[in-house]
């Protein structure tokens, strides 16, 4: 994972950018799941959402290096 990302000549912590991206992805996935009522198949939706978030955030960190 890049420790810092260059945004217009300024260094921004990579974690911050990835975090914001991951939140956006989760927002999208969550909207899709809600649209098709997929949370019916899940015991504890918030816990599930948190787990998906950890997966997405972790995947970003591992894939971008």
């Amino acid at each position: 994972m890049p420790r810092e990302i260059v945004l217009g000549d300024a260094l921004v912590p990579g974690l911050l950018i990835l975090f914001v991206l991951a939140i956006a992805v989760i927002w999208l996935l969550d909207a899709i799941a809600g649209r098709f009522s997929l949370y019916r198949f899940v015991w504890h939706p918030p816990l599930f959402r948190l787990a998906v978030f950890v997966c997405v955030f972790g995947a970003f960190a591992l894939l971008l290096n």
Partner: protein, 708 residues
Amino acid sequence: MSASTASTRVPLTHDVLANTLREEASVWLFVAKTLTALFVAGWIAMRVDLPAPSTAMITTLIVANRQSGLVLAKSFYRTLGTFAGAFGAIAIMATFPQQRDLLLVALSLWIGLCAGGATLYRNFKAYAFVLAGYTAAIVAIPVIDNPPGVFDSAVARLSEVLLGVLVSGVISDVVFPSRMRDVLRRTARDQFAHFLGFVRDSVGGAIPRESMEKAHLRFVRASVTLEDLRSSVIFADADARARSNQMRLFNQRFMAASTSFQSLHHLINRLKRARRDRAADTLIQLYRPIGEALDAPIEAGSAARILLPRLTAARDAIASSRAALRATLDDAHDLRDFDTGASLLRRFVDELHDYVDTAVALQAPRVIAGSAERVRFDRGNDFVGAGIATLRTTLAMLALGVYWIESAWPQGGGAMLNATIFAGLFATIPNPTRATWELTWGYFIGMVLGFVCNFFVLTQLEGYGLLVAGVFPFIVVGVMLMASPRWAGLGLGWALGLVYILAFKNTQTYDPAHFINDAVAQIVGLLAAAVSFIVIPPAIGSAWLRRRQLARLRAQVALAAEAPLPGLRHRFESVNHDLVSQIAAQTEPGSSDSRALFAWALAVHETGRALIELRHDMVRRGVPSTLKPYLDAALRSLARFYEKPDAPGYLLARDAVATAIASVGEHDDSAHLIEHLHLVRMALLDGESILAAYMPDTPLSKEIVHAT
């Protein structure tokens, strides 16, 4: 509604005990979750070496709420506001890097504008605006001597806030969440049951004006509460988000149906008052099938499905009995009033059917794609009130800024920051001086405790675990107070003051002189905010704003008469409801102000809806060109009269409507318009309505219904 009061029973002791315990458990759960979020956020912030872990901790305190949905909603808007504020700070700093005075002026303006924008929104959207304002100050002021540092300062602030938001979001959503969806569902069910129950119980005929006004207030409150809840629940619940538009539609149909229902009852009331019992009784008889249709257990959700065929049957029954009932009347006035009432009734049954239909669809296990038309809930905003908030916040900032520069007070920046934060935060509530005062006391207590904690306890301790143990006893009472409605302000101030003044860092500094200076600056900032509220009192809650809002409410009739038609029905209803509920929240129940408000609200509602229906019919079926000028003149004079009510305007409007009715009577193909006009005319001539003040002094009781 009468059914539920009849079954009231004496509460048993163990019920009381169980309720108390449940309430206590919910408070303690809140305390546990808040403190967990607080310390976890602090720990992570220290682990990843953020410059100010206390910001992340303060964030968790600010977004803390018993309802998970509210935490997520507030977090979302806090994030948005922080982003906007950080960008604002960078832009302002980049524009005036070497000009301290101009920078402060620009910053004050930005903060003032944000505070003004906040008054235009209810809910947490207002919070996002305030936050955008003071985040800019938080980012810019500490680096005012070192402009290149603004970017790092912005990134640090963003990281800290996001961390705090993430931790509280996860903890409140995952650990024993308290679902607002249930509250929303219950509110929607209550709304449904109350309204249908009210309709069913009032089938007997006239409803006294007083209970009509009470019911109106309840319906208005219900629809606004539902909209507020909806806008928060969508953050917690993907399912609710997918249904959000249906929920809106449900609410809009509720508002439409309740307005028609009230118009119908005003009509019946007026007929009764004018001793025109025959017409009134015939209408009540026509109305009866609805009461029978609703005579079933009323429950929102799929159980309501059984009501649909019954309502359709009632509609058919009304249509078939209409001719027979009409034949029993012979007087020309009676016939005309009966026709008006019957068309109103048809409109009401259709709307009621739609409303029940949406209620059923809401509970369907799957969301039907794109089934609901898109609707929105428009708000009635006042831009002058926003201007006042802008002016006040800007002036408070400038005054403190000048003082800071002139006195070269090292902590002046801190005082300025605190004044900004609370001048902005409290600009949107009715009694900001008291709230600021309470918060100041809380801050004071928190900081005194902070002194004890910092210099006598924390100096003895080593490591994060012991830090938690050392801070816990000092903060727990504050957080508990946050959970009680009465002491929430004090508790919040307590917890914020304590966490702020402890200023946790990886290497904690112990400097009593700096500590006390900082504490004094915080209190001075808070007091400055309180003073600014006294010097420029908030528009919210003042008689002046109320008059303006009332004028806006009346101007709704002009909107109904003149605004473009598409979407107008929803726009009219939702702005009306928002305005009425705003004014209702700011008036003493039962005071003359509040009575005047409801009298106006009823008149505006009835006339506005009739005008909208009239215009829809005019467009749908076309109007002969010989008739159109008269109708336009009637619409125009009504709009002018409601915008600026006075006796000459009243006469003009009354005559214009009479002329329009007369000319519609001459055109046989436009008979469908006459019912709407007639309804408007009756509302205008109602001697018990607020319009009575503008009527000429001639006795009117007879004319109410006999004037043509």
